[in-house]
Amino acid sequence: MINNNTQHAASNVQPQKKLNIYFTAGVPKLEDTTEIMKVIQNSGADFMEIGMPYSDPVADGDVIQKAHEKALKNGMTMTHLFAQLKSLKDEIKIPVILMGYINPVLSFSFENFCRECAASGVSGLIIPDLPPIEFEKNYSALLKKYNLNFTFLVTPETSDERIKYLDSLSSGFLYAVSSSSTTGNENKEVKNEEYLDNLAQLDLKNPVFIGFGIKNKADFNSVTEKAAGGIIGTAFVKILMENENWQEKAGDFIRSIKN
């Protein structure tokens, strides 16, 4: 069984910081999803985030944008992704989180989507363009009903008051975007001590995972000095997209960060 409680996995943050690896479902080939999940788990990552492909991923930079485009060309759909997840339900022990945009989720119907998530061993959701006001009004009860966590994003520009509000609505972990940017932006500062110090002193109920722009062990170590964990997406997706035999490189990459 998949550990259905990300809070539990995130709470044991010492001595080792938690590594969360993101990839887009359906690339490089449609049926690679399950293989990638196994590589991520077997290489020592603590969480995995699976991107749900969308035609208009506005919060993503070039690399993940192209991955979405390719996944859709490969024929990835939510129905197919759920079937892939179900086929691995008993093998994957680390928490599986689905990340994506609200439109495909609404098309599926939010309740049906949550039901399928629960049946597929998914433990949490990240939907960056779902505003908290909509979440509270229409969706939080459904997440509770299906025992799913939901993670909100905060940025260096988010006010303390709003960080506390988003933390109060989140469960599992709080996603701290390293800088206000699209994913994989290499021009922005990844390490932002003042921001991380501030998050640390806010006495949040969720562990803080930091993401966006982390591409190697040095970045990971640097940001996790003050955060419970780090999320790597673009750098990992690049490995999948640029290497025909990605299995070994993907595993090596994760091990290089964890060890």
């Binding site: 208009d56 506005v58 495909p104 599926f108 960056p128 363009d129 505003p131 520009e157």
Partner: protein
């Protein structure tokens, strides 16, 4: 009284609207939401904006009684001549308003998206006038089919950046502009050119464009002794000229509103942009509205001969008018639009923008009584479309 004009405090028109943006954009959108009404309703802003509309844009634009068109279609047809605005379309109303607003918000850098190029030209013009940096995102396909406007934007000092993803048209230009905004959130104001995007953009753009219906009212009063026509017709892509043309009539139940969407090659052709006929409830570019999408919620690439209507959604303002049956929607094919453009040119001596030609094509589809007064928004002029027109002569 029931009102369709203004969204609720969360930016909803009925079930449509809202602000579906990632947290990276929240501070900008929130800053705008908190301040836009105070700023644009202030006497200082109002004076500055009105002065520019009058002396720089050339407003009020004429409400022209189209005698020959009226004779042909057996009714009283008036054309609201937005094509006579400086830069050649209604887009300048919104661009000047938003650039003024951006200055009040202390922004130094302006980004915009454009389809036909009219919004890009209008934004580049306003930025040149007010000395602000201007970046315009435009689909690669549109750059090729709207070359004259690309040249104008460059001459005005704007940087034109091609959008190379998806269908390489307006939808993708919006995506790229949103990405730029996420990456430059604190310094930059994004001037959305239509009544789309997260709240408060649909309301903001509709208010700036509402000068169109405000003028129609007093102009009709002057010409025929009543301020309400029987029909108001406008084309809808995102819907900014239609929102502006409908605005002061939308709560006047005796005025019938008609919107013309781009049917492309036809509703069953797979190459269309007629959103209300082909779309379903969805979230695109920050608001909940009607969107052309697959069963999986993937946005379908639209098609229209007119770059300005080549968009797979409509603004929430219009989606609400559609579901409330307040506006009647027509789907106009590329061919029908071309025919209407040639007709207007031949019998009235006015070359319309391809977008506006969709609104004119409604005349062929609907029977009006002889004494009924019909106002059609001629949203822009056809100079930018000459290449397409010449190919189809």
């Amino acid at each position: 009284m029931k009102t369709y004009k203004n969204p609720d405090e969360n930016g909803y028109y009925g079930e449509f609207g809202g602000a579906f943006v990632p947290e990276m954009l929240y501070p900008n959108v929130e800053e705008l939401r908190k301040q836009y009404l105070d700023i644009i309703n202030s006497a200082e802003f109002e004076n500055e904006f009105r002065d520019l509309l009058k002396n720089y844009v050339g407003r009020a634009t004429p409400l022209y009684f189209a005698k020959n068109l009226s004779k042909k279609y057996g009714s009283q047809i008036y054309l609201k001549r937005e094509d006579l605005n400086h830069t050649g379309a209604h887009k300048i109303n919104n661009a000047l308003g938003q650039v003024l607003l951006a200055k009040k918000l202390g922004k130094k850098r302006i980004i915009a998206e454009t389809g036909a190029g009219q919004h890009g030209v209008a934004t580049a013009t306003a930025c040149a006038l007010m000395n602000l940096e201007c970046i315009v995102y435009m689909g690669e396909v549109d750059i090729a089919r709207q070359a004259p406007n690309v040249g104008r934007m460059k001459m005005l000092g704007a940087t034109v950046i091609p959008a190379t993803s998806g269908s390489k048209t307006l939808k993708d230009a919006v995506n790229e502009a949103l990405r730029d905004w996420i990456n430059n959130a604190t310094t930059t104001h994004y001037i959305i050119g239509s009544v789309v995007g997260p709240h408060p953009f649909p309301d903001l753009v509709a208010r700036f464009q509402s000068v169109i219906s405000e003028e129609i009212k007093w102009q009709l009063q002057e010409k025929i002794g009543r301020e309400n026509p029987d029909y108001v017709i406008a084309c809808v892509g995102g819907g900014s000229n239609a929102a502006g043309t409908f605005y002061h009539f939308v709560d006047e139940e005796n005025v019938k509103l008609i919107a013309a969407e781009a049917g492309g090659f036809g509703l069953d052709s797979g190459k269309s942009a007629a959103t209300t006929f082909l779309g379903t409830l969805g979230v695109l570019h920050g608001s909940k509205s009607i969107v052309m999408q697959t069963e999986d919620g993937q946005v379908i690439e639209p098609h229209s001969i007119s770059a300005g209507l080549d968009y797979p959604g409509i603004g929430p303002f219009h989606a609400n008018l559609f579901t409330q049956k307040r506006t009647e929607f027509y789907s106009i094919t590329d061919e029908e639009a071309l025919k209407s453009a040639f007709e207007l040119t031949k019998i009235e001596g006015i070359i319309p923008a391809l977008e506006s030609a969709h609104a004119l094509a409604v005349l062929e589809k609907k029977n009006f009584a002889k004494d009924e007064v019909v106002v059609i928004c001629l949203s822009g002029r056809g100079d930018k479309d000459m290449e397409t027109y010449l190919k189809n002569l």
